[in-house]
Amino acid sequence: MKTDARPIPAFKRKKCMACKICVDDCPVSCIGVAPSGSAKDPHGYPFLEDETRCIHCGQCADNCPVEAIRMVAA
């Protein structure tokens, strides 16, 4: 079966500051913020909300100040 090899963002929770720079950077707004957090870690972290909208541009990874996003094959 053929898979889509174009890269999509993968988020490293441990590094992520939840600062939403990637949310703003995405030109097609396909990165969302989790609507709830856990008692231990109540922050709303970014995630790939709609993979079909992703244009694989890598802007989110390039502009993340703490290198919490990697572009990986889907």
Binding site: M17, A18, C19, K20, I21, V23, D24, C26, P27, V28, S29, A34, P35, S36, G37, P42, H43, G44, R53, Q59, N63, P65, V66
Partner: protein
């Protein structure tokens, strides 16, 4: 060459429908930065003297900072600027959320609007094209509803970001603000009314332009370093313990210089509500319209505003753009609204201790009601407290209040009164323009109980506890604001670590020393004002700055983003220039700086006979005099030298053959 800013502003005239771009020369940014500094330059230049704040000559500017979108942290604040209808002079308010980068992604450092439309409109900027669209169907909607409708209507690929007014701005309430992100609000200075007077319901921004700093890698390196300080946690302390710490701080004759890292830890866990009980206990929070004490809202009563109560309602923490702390939160509530942004410290105490209201549910409800209406919760709480005192003194009666028994702590009456203020209904119409206007209408002794600086209601930090607040309430070109300076803020900014010659506070000192009006205090206050002007020009948040200048690399970020090679002293000189220009704006518009001194009780005249601030009195006249002296302004009138202003706003002379 990429410099972090776009070098362009958009100018819209709603009377004529004219839309044009203006290229701003580099020297303007080098002299004033972007953000509020750019706003000061444009407004000082373009608003004619004596313009009616609610007329077509006034301008409203939405401006973003130089650092916004460059990869720096804590730099997601946008500022709205204009001539304030509340004070009659310079007006600014800033707010977080996601709007600031959206302004720059549309290709502008600022969007300036003048003129007045005949019918309700909104401004949409999409794919580099601005258009004025009808908003008749949105007029009357609250800010959250209007934002949801516009987001859905205008969305293509990129999620649009919206700033809009609610019914308070539409009704020209002088204490109304401008909302974004479902209830974040640039609340101060009454600029929502300016937007309402222009019949401008909203601006909708969906740009995709890249924001290009000079050296993004260098900005990122600095951000990673800064994030080490920003990512500490505070695991052991409970919300109730904070109140006890406040009690201890009240009882001790000495005080330790505050390290902002501690405050950051509290913000991280509870947000600004962490200060609720602590502030009441130590005398930082004014009680009962500034005439009460912590004894009137003692630990048992203030238990209802325990920070843990607000934290328990939090579903998720809310981060503004580029902020690693996340002091905000989204909370679930009972009653009419299912959720709300976590009420801020200012809101809780303005609607709580200031009116002796002990009901936390009512605070959640009023928080959302005011956010949706687009009304400033500080001014709303201050105005309710004023009305209660007027009722107590017999200046207004149930015949005036539509039957409401306006007594201290009467939650039901407080809720109804604010609902009426939002709708401008009955007594609410009298109070919807804040305490100064209401006192003028009520007459007799009412102005004694109107607690404002130059027309703007005072925030929930008591100058009798920290005289630095009292000074900044009175001396700032936009008076009555708590987000600029205080002795506490100076300790947390740690500017002496970066700027040689600034005084370093002692680690431990007797509290009595805070009230000595000496030159050192004036130097600290002036440094706070200058630094905050730099922060506002950069688009930065003061809470980030509380980490300390040695931990948040503001000056290095600015150099990395712009390619400049300026020293911290150079940036402080920029801060001074912005302060002088804003003061010059006030003088141009006939505002007398001496009229900004708040009611005597706020500085301890007469001094309280009991409570945390017992016997404390601030020599406000001397402190103001010394502050003006630091800026080289006339020490009796507060006016900057006209010979300084001229060259400040003129283009530098370029020698032939030399590139500017």
């Amino acid at each position: 060459m990429d410099r972090g800013y776009t070098g362009t502003i958009l100018k819209v005239d709603l009377t004529t429908g004219d839309i044009q771009e203006e290229v701003i020369p580099d020297w303007v940014y080098e002299r004033f930065l972007a953000g509020m500094g750019l706003g000061a330059y444009v407004l000082h230049r373009d608003i004619p003297a004596g313009a009616d704040p609610l007329g077509p000559d006034n301008m409203l500017g939405f401006v973003a900072g130089i650092l916004t979108g460059t990869g720096s942290l804590f730099t997601g604040r946008w500022t709205v600027v204009g001539k304030s209808p509340l004070t009659g002079g310079w007006g600014d308010a800033n707010c977080g959320g996601m709007l600031a980068p959206a302004i720059k992604r549309c290709g502008y450092d600022g969007i300036f609007i003048r003129g007045c439309s005949d019918t309700p409109v909104y401004l949409e900027i999409k794919n580099g094209k601005a258009s004025i669209c009808p908003a008749g169907d949105l007029w009357g909607q609250d800010a959250v509803e209007a934002e949801a409708l516009l987001t859905e209507r205008c969305r293509k690929k990129k999620m649009p970001r919206v700033a809009c007014i609610g019914p308070a701005g539409e009704n020209l309430s002088l204490i109304s603000g401008i909302c974004t992100d479902r209830g974040r609000i640039a609340a101060r200075s009454g600029l929502g009314a300016v937007m309402g007077s222009k019949k401008l319901k909203a601006i909708v921004l969906s740009g995709t332009r890249k924001i290009k700093p000079h050296d993004r890698d260098a900005v990122h390196r600095l951000s990673r370093k800064c994030n080490r300080w920003a990512s500490f946690q505070i695991p052991f302390v409970s919300g109730g313990m904070l109140g006890k710490i406040g009690t201890l701080m009240r009882m001790l004759p000495t005080q330790m210089a505050m390290d902002g890292l501690m405050f950051k830890l509290m913000l991280n866990k509870w947000g600004t509500t962490s200060m609720n009980q602590m502030s009441v206990e130590m005398g930082d929070s004014p009680i009962k319209n500034w005439k009460g004490t912590n004894r009137d809202f003692d630990a048992k009563r203030s238990q209802t505003v325990n920070p843990d109560i607000f934290r328990q309602c939090e579903v998720v923490k809310y981060h503004c753009y580029s902020c690693p702390v996340g002091c905000g939160g989204i909370c679930t509530t009972n009653g009419r609204f299912s959720e709300t942004h976590k009420p801020e410290y200012e809101t809780v105490l303005a609607l709580g201790g200031l009116c002796l209201n002990e009901d936390a549910d009512s605070i959640f409800y009023l928080n959302e009601l005011l956010n949706r209406a687009g009304m400033d919760s500080i001014s709303a709480g201050g105005t309710v407290a004023f009305a209660i005192e007027c009722f107590e003194k017999g200046l207004i009666t149930t015949a005036d209040t539509d039957g409401l028994e306006l007594t201290w702590g009467n939650t039901e009456a407080i809720v109804v009164l604010i609902e009426k203020m939002v709708q401008r209904e009955g007594i609410g119409d009298l109070l919807a323009d804040g305490t100064k206007v209401a006192a003028d209408k009520i007459g007799r002794d009412a102005h004694h109980y109107a607690i404002h600086a130059g027309g703007q209601e005072l925030p929930m930090h008591d100058g009798r506890c920290d005289p630095g607040f009292a000074v900044h309430y009175a001396v700032e070109p936009s008076p009555g604001k708590h987000t600029v300076g205080a002795q506490l803020y100076y300790e947390m900014y740690r500017l002496w670590k970066k700027i040689p010659g600034l005084p370093k506070p002692d680690m431990l000192y007797f509290k009595g020393r805070k009230y000595v009006a000496d030159e050192s205090k004036a130097i600290c206050s002036a440094a706070c004002s200058k630094y905050v002007n730099v922060l506002n020009g950069a688009g930065a948040c003061v809470f980030g700055a509380f980490l300390g200048a040695d931990r948040i690399p503001m000056f290095d970020w600015l150099n990395a983003a712009t390619g400049w090679k300026k020293s911290p002293e150079d940036y402080m000189a920029i801060g001074e220039a912005v302060q002088t220009l804003r003061q010059a704006f006030n003088i141009k518009h006939g505002r007398d700086p001496r009229r900004n001194i708040p009611a005597p009780r706020t500085t301890g005249q007469p001094a309280l006979s009991t409570g945390a601030n017992k016997g404390r009195c601030v020599d406000i006249q001397k402190m103001i005099h010394d502050y003006w002296q630091q800026f080289g302004w006339d020490t009796t009138s507060g006016k900057p030298d006209p010979e300084v202003i001229g060259p400040l706003v003129q283009a530098p002379i370029t020698v032939v053959g030399e590139r500017n």
